[in-house]
């Protein structure tokens, strides 16, 4: 295991990190989206994904996208941990502007050796989140995630606050936002059509029917 971790290249680490972020956002990472994020060509994404798949770090389902395996997830969280610790270091100790911290941390994260991250964490005073407010995974790769469930899981009459909306299309996000469907908004389930039909939710005093495919990008925390 250890030798495998050591053999992971900087490039692979970047890939795992990006896949993790995309998976968080929308359930899986599409190769086109990966190429865009990593600023590489779709062809080279396919090549790298193939080699990562061979090493059992990711699973590539055609037309669906890339998902991390258990091992891949562990490695990705480790990269994320180093990235977020690096950001803390840059902003708290070196007083870099937080808007510059991200890019610099992308470089720095790969240089933080296994022996260094724990002392670093200690020196920084065991921060819980990065400067942008995202949680820092623990050394064992655990991430304290917020508990949220799909909006469609609410029964009629139940309510909650929107935790996140996982959608990549900006237009849809923006459209929902103009109706008041934004994270933090209070929603009440009014009606659910059977057989995975649409739902009716009340938000900001108005009721909206949402098709299941729209409703299933919205995550809520039940109140």
């Amino acid at each position: 295991m250890k030798s495998e971790e050591l053999s992971i290249s900087k490039e692979s680490e970047e890939y795992l990190e990006a896949i993790y972020r995309l998976e968080e956002k929308s359930g899986s990472a599409r190769t086109m989206e990966l190429a865009r994020q990593l600023k590489v060509t779709p062809g080279s994404v396919t090549n790298t994904i193939e080699s990562l798949e061979k090493r059992g770090l990711v699973i590539h389902e055609p037309y669906k996208g890339v998902k991390l395996t258990k091992n891949g997830r562990k490695l990705a969280l480790n990269v994320l941990r180093r990235h977020r610790l690096a950001e803390r270091l840059l902003t708290d100790v070196l007083h870099l502007d937080w808007s510059q911290a991200h890019d610099a941390a992308c470089e720095l994260e790969h240089a933080i050796a296994k022996e260094v991250d724990e002392p670093l964490e200690k020196a920084l005073g065991h921060p819980k989140t990065c400067p942008h407010g995202n949680p820092i995974p623990s050394e064992s790769g655990k991430l304290v995630e917020e508990k949220a469930e799909l909006l469609t899981k609410l029964a009629p009459g139940e309510d909650g606050t929107i935790a996140k909306i996982t959608e990549e299309k900006r237009d849809m996000l923006q459209y929902l936002a103009t109706l008041g469907l934004v994270p933090g908004a209070f929603v009440k389930m009014e009606e659910k059509a059977p057989f995975n039909g649409p739902i009716i939710v009340k938000v900001m005093g108005a009721s909206y029917a949402l098709g299941r495919n729209v409703a299933s990008i919205i995550w809520v925390r039940k109140s």
């Binding site: 937080w98 808007s99 991200h102 942008h132 407010g133 995202n134 900006r170 237009d171 849809m172 996000l173 923006q174 459209y175 929902l176 936002a177 103009t178 109706l179 008041g180 934004v182 994270p183 933090g184 009606e191 059509a193 059977p194 057989f195 995975n196 039909g197 649409p198 009716i200 900001m204 005093g205 108005a206 009721s207 909206y208 029917a209 949402l210 098709g211 299941r212 495919n213 729209v214 409703a215």
Partner: protein, 694 residues
């Protein structure tokens, strides 16, 4: 109405009036009611090329001032994220009205104020029409409109538009503001520190370096648009536009490098906010705007307890599955029966009137004026049969249907139906709202295709219209019943409907996968049930009917003349002749059927009438009244099946062309012909095994 370009229509409107106002508001807040109260029947409809959403324009007179009114589509906001919003925004930016009247729903102030804030941001003088104050009171909301006026810095006039209350006062406030008799206060719309900081930085850069902004927007407004990464404005800066526009823009926005600088600056500012708040800046701004609207709403409204209204309970029953579905089935059957019986009765009535009073007289008149027998007959095809074809479809089916549709729309029940049907329609790449046009197709395809306007994207409209065309309308039902049910048996008539239903399912499923673009999900407001205003419904019906008339009348008349000429001169057989390999070879029909099929394009029920008529001429004598004398049961079945599927009638083609463009209309025509031949050909070879004698 011939499609008028918005650009031109707006210019004309401004030219002939002293003052122009734009009427804006969320959907279903009574905006069209206000528009109707203000304007008469002389409403002009215009659209932007490629957009299905239209702008209505009208003129009203107030104490000698001629006021032009631009009725923007009802939208929730003014971003470039959907067609309706884009059209609303362009209408107001290009139209540059002197005043924007925003009609808001007093029973849901927070969401409604969102757009008021957007208009104020864009720098427009605004008058707020606080509508539905009566309904708000019923559900226990009281709005202090004076305080609202103070907070927004704009005049606020309470109205009940359905009953015309407050409309005069509203116009009065508009004129006062326009003539400087009242003043707006500078509204204080400030965002959170980060967003505000970014807006100011970008705004200052714009102020310093741009001589002229697009649409003469204030620097602050443009800064917000760029920060929100608004597609239209960003494209303008990138220079991604039509050539003509680009030339105009280049003059205004300076050289490419400068423009790139702005985009870079705005992207950098946006990224900073995004990183700090963990959400895209557009969402952040929307959230803060909602917060602002909420604060204002809370400050001006008081809530008191009121019992739950009957309409609210009813709403619940219409969407709850166990009560909603039976109710919907009943309503659908009701609509179907209404269109079928009332429309059918009216159609027969119009037919009788025409035939007994006009046809005979016109026949004599034309024959008297035109001595040439053939020419006279051709003219009669156009002015007699053609106009009748148009009248007997237009008046009975379209008028009645539109009254029903407008009632469903305005009352809010249409949305309940759409909610229940969403699941089924989703499989066909459509969403719930498309059930109404498809159902209506069984009455008449023409209003059904116009009814696809309730769908928001062109893709959905093409999909739904193609399915509508495949729904057997009342004329085709007449052929199915008259030929198949009478001579072959009602089970076979039913079989045609089953085949049609299967075809519709498969075509929908297939098209959904073939057409580029994907089906976006349903997002639809479920507004409370309201009793619609009769005058709004009648006016809506009239405008829609007028639209139909402009399209269908010339097409049907010219089509009738052309087909009549072919028929009377005998060229029709010459055209039908080359078709006989298909008609006889593939479909196994007698050659005479080919002529009937061609003429049936005019009106589908003509096919049956002609079949009988031509058969009599063709030497079968009066015994041909019985179709079985010269056609086998299989041939009758295939004939009716093909009639049901092939090319929609000429009025339908005309409306397809108008609504979806001629290219799409042509594609749908070709598709249905191929489909009809294929299905007919297969049926010809399969049906004998079902026990039907050949």
């Amino acid at each position: 109405m011939p499609a008028l370009s918005c650009h031109k229509a707006l210019k004309e409107l401004k030219g002939k009036t002293d003052l122009t106002i734009a009427l804006a508001g969320n959907p279903n807040v009574g905006k069209s009611c206000v528009f109707n109260q203000l304007t008469g029947l002389s409403v002009v409809t215009a659209n932007y090329p490629g957009k299905t959403v239209e702008l209505n324009m009208g003129v009203t007179l107030h104490n000698g001032t001629r006021i032009g009114i631009i009725d923007l589509p009802g939208t929730y906001a003014l971003s470039a994220v959907s067609d309706d919003q884009l059209v609303a925004r362009r209408g107001v930016l290009e139209g540059r009205p002197d005043i924007v009247v925003v009609v808001v729903d007093a029973s849901n102030l927070q969401r409604n104020l969102y757009m008021v804030l957007q208009f104020l941001e864009l720098g427009f003088p605004v008058v707020v029409g606080l509508n539905l104050v009566d309904y708000a009171a019923k559900i226990g909301l009281k709005i202090n409109h004076e305080k609202l006026s103070e907070l927004l810095g704009t005049p606020v006039v309470p109205t009940v538009a359905v009953r015309g209350q407050g409309i005069d006062e509203l116009i009065h406030a508009v004129v006062d503001l326009a003539q400087g008799k009242s003043k707006m206060k500078e509204p204080k719309i400030t965002y959170g520190r980060d967003v505000e900081g970014a807006i100011q930085t970008l705004g200052e850069a714009i102020q310093e370096r741009l001589d002229e902004t697009p649409y003469n927007l204030p620097a602050r407004a443009l800064a917000i648009q760029l920060l929100e990464n608004d597609v239209e404005f960003v494209d303008m800066f990138k220079g991604r536009q039509s050539k003509r526009r680009r030339r105009r823009q280049r003059r205004r926005l300076g050289q490419g490098q400068d423009r790139e600088e702005f985009l870079k600056l705005s992207a950098r500012l946006a990224r900073q906010i995004e990183e700090k708040h963990g959400e895209p800046v557009g969402i952040r701004i929307a959230r803060e705007r909602h917060g602002l609207a909420g604060t204002i709403a809370d400050a001006v409204q008081t809530k008191f307890d009121q019992p739950i209204l009957l309409s609210q309970k009813l709403k619940h029953y219409t969407v709850a599955p166990y009560t909603g579905i039976p109710l919907m089935v009943a309503v659908m059957l009701g609509i179907f029966a209404f269109i079928f019986y009332v429309g059918g009765w009216l159609s027969a009535f119009v037919d009788t009137l025409w035939v007994s009073f006009i046809s005979s007289n016109m026949g004599e008149l034309v024959h008297f004026a035109v001595k040439n027998e053939i020419l006279a007959n051709v003219i009669l095809w156009g002015v007699d049969k053609g106009i009748l074809a148009w009248l007997s479809v237009g008046v009975p089916y379209i008028l009645t249907f539109y009254i029903v549709l407008s009632f469903l729309e305005d009352s809010g029940y249409l949305n309940s139906m759409a909610f229940l049907m969403d699941n089924v329609m989703h499989k066909l790449g459509l969403h719930g709202r498309s059930i109404i046009p498809i159902l209506t197709g069984a009455g008449c395809n023409v209003p059904a295709i116009m009814g696809t306007r309730v769908l928001t994207t062109k893709r959905k409209r093409i999909l739904a219209s193609t399915l509508v065309v495949l729904v057997p309308c009342s004329a085709r039902t007449a052929v199915i019943l008259g030929a198949v049910a009478s001579f072959v048996g009602w089970t076979y008539a039913l079989l045609i409907y089953v085949i049609e239903l299967m075809i519709i399912g498969m075509v929908g499923w297939g098209l959904h996968r073939l057409l580029p673009g994907e089906s976006s999900g349903l997002v639809m407001e479920m507004f409370p049930f309201r009793f619609p205003s009769a005058s709004v419904i009648l006016k809506k019906t009239w405008f829609r009917f007028r639209d139909f008339a402009y399209v269908a009348f010339p097409v049907v008349t010219v089509g009738s003349l052309a087909l009549g000429a072919l028929y009377e001169t005998g060229y029709l057989s010459a055209i039908a002749e080359p078709l006989s390999p298909i008609v006889y070879g593939v479909l196994g029909l007698p050659a005479v059927a080919g002529i009937c099929l061609i003429l049936g394009i005019l009106r589908k029920e003509l096919t049956l009438e002609l079949l009988v008529a031509l058969a009599i001429v063709g030497g079968y004598g009066s015994g041909a009244q019985n179709l079985l004398a010269f056609m086998t049961p299989i041939q009758i079945f295939i004939f009716a099946l093909v009639v049901t599927i092939y090319i929609p009638c000429v009025a339908t083609v005309a409306v397809l062309g108008k609504e979806l463009g001629w290219r799409n209309a042509f594609l749908i025509m070709v598709f249905t012909i191929v489909l009809a031949i294929a299905v007919g050909g297969i049926a010809y070879r399969v049906v004998p095994y079902l026990g039907l004698s050949g």
